[in-house]
Symmetry: C2
């Protein structure tokens, strides 16, 4: 437990600069760094990286995507196409040594991880962008923590024993409660102290749904780990496994929140950090 608290503090120390410098290239850089580390861990787990240059090109994609998303629509699509071109060239040149199916797994992870995380960069464009970026982490980590606590205290009914035997329905409900309370609390604080106008109804709904996205991220990561027979994505963060073990929820909350805010901007008139 002490280890968990220590590593939690480490993570906060890492994500805090993302919030403080959200309007600068530091945000892109940190998102690029997280994307690359998480992708590296995921690819290692698959054991499908049959040659070093697959890893090199995939990591190149991961570190550039958070900057490319600041470019045009066609820039985003072309970047993806360029990566696909390289992967197809590698398959063709190394046929039949590199398996098409394996490269597809590499391709999926290399696209999902950096493009999902890049949504954090999109959020800063909204009025009140810095606050929305906070809500990515609040949604993910309040959900995770509350699910853990509720599961330990009240957990009785297994959620999906095939994928993640420790998860319970009670924990899952706890996650929803936790994220909703976290959003509400954040709304109260920023309204009182930062002069932000908050739409509480949408904020509460967004919090509940954020927990849904967070839990989907968590279960998706579990499916990958279960498929490849590993317990964690690495040992980078003491007590938390790899970076991706800790950021799997964030990974899924970020795109969810961009979609949500596009339709319902629930924080208005805030100072954008």
């Amino acid at each position: 437990m002490g280890k968990r608290i220590l590593s939690g503090a480490l993570i906060v120390a890492f994500t805090l600069p993302m919030l403080v410098f959200s309007s600068t290239g530091i945000l892109n850089t940190l998102v690029a760094l997280i994307s690359a580390v998480c992708l590296y861990e995921a690819l290692i787990v698959t054991k499908y990286v049959e040659a070093k240059h697959i890893m090199v090109f995939s990591l190149l994609l991961a570190v550039t995507v958070p900057f490319v998303t600041d470019l045009s629509r066609r820039g985003i699509v072309i970047w993806m196409a360029l990566y696909a071109f390289v992967m197809f060239i590698l398959i063709i040149v190394n046929f039949p040594k590199f398996k098409f199916q394996h490269i597809c797994v590499v391709f999926m992870l290399s696209l999902v991880i950096p493009y999902f995380f890049s949504n954090i960069v999109f959020l800063r464009r909204f009025d009140g962008g810095g606050y929305y970026i906070c809500l990515v982490f609040i949604g993910a980590w309040f959900s995770d923590t509350a699910a853990l606590l509720f599961g330990m205290l009240f957990g009785r009914h297994k959620l999906c024993p095939n994928i993640s035997p420790k998860k319970t329905v009670e924990g899952s409900i706890g996650g929803v409660v936790g994220a909703t309370l976290g959003y509400l609390l954040f709304g109260l604080v920023v309204e009182r102290f930062c002069g932000v106008t908050v739409n509480y109804l949408i904020l509460v709904i967004a919090g509940a749904l954020a927990s849904g996205a967070a839990q989907l991220g968590d279960l998706s990561a579990s499916v990958i780990k279960r498929t490849f027979g590993v317990k964690d994505f690495g040992k980078l963060i003491p007590g938390h496994g790899g970076m991706l073990d800790r950021f799997d929820s964030v990974l899924f909350v970020a795109p969810y929140l961009v979609a949500m805010v596009s339709f319902f901007p629930f924080l208005k008139g805030g100072i954008v950090w």
Copy 2:
């Protein structure tokens, strides 16, 4: 050979409306249709569609992406994320029946095919957009046809016997010559009759590289067919196999051309159809 000419005429009759109505929603609609048919063929070949709804959601992605690319940058990324969310939910709910690796193959094809084709929609935004759309098809089909002819006449050295035993180095060179001549011819015609200013140096280079993209598309399709032990993607077009057998080169020339035109707009001041 008669069948081939007939089906060639059919394809022209299909693609001509894309050029004539390139500034309207008809272009998006036709690109959506081609994407969906090609994706359907590819997914059937993989045999990885373990339930109908995987196919339904993938085809939904294919028909919507050519419209979504007209939206914002975050619209493009969110659409991809939404599809990934659905796929992960399907994997989780059907674990371990649906294999993660299989869904990754579905994911790669479902992204590559519609997002690649959607570059045709991007091209119309350029000054002289209609002409560039022509060049996608000229690049692909002059390369294909010349490669076939050169291969039949002079083919001696196998290009990649593991993947596509009939392809020769001579055919490949012929493809480059054919596409380059096609581009040059097109440049001469539009400069003379349509009052377009043409940069011939870039046009020639673009033609040669377009053949490279076309051949990469052709070989990539072959790798997929070889991996799953089929000869063609279907029987839709008499003498040509499936739609994807005929459009594999177009698929790769489209994103290549958007990248090329972004840096070197080699046709200028034309009337955009």
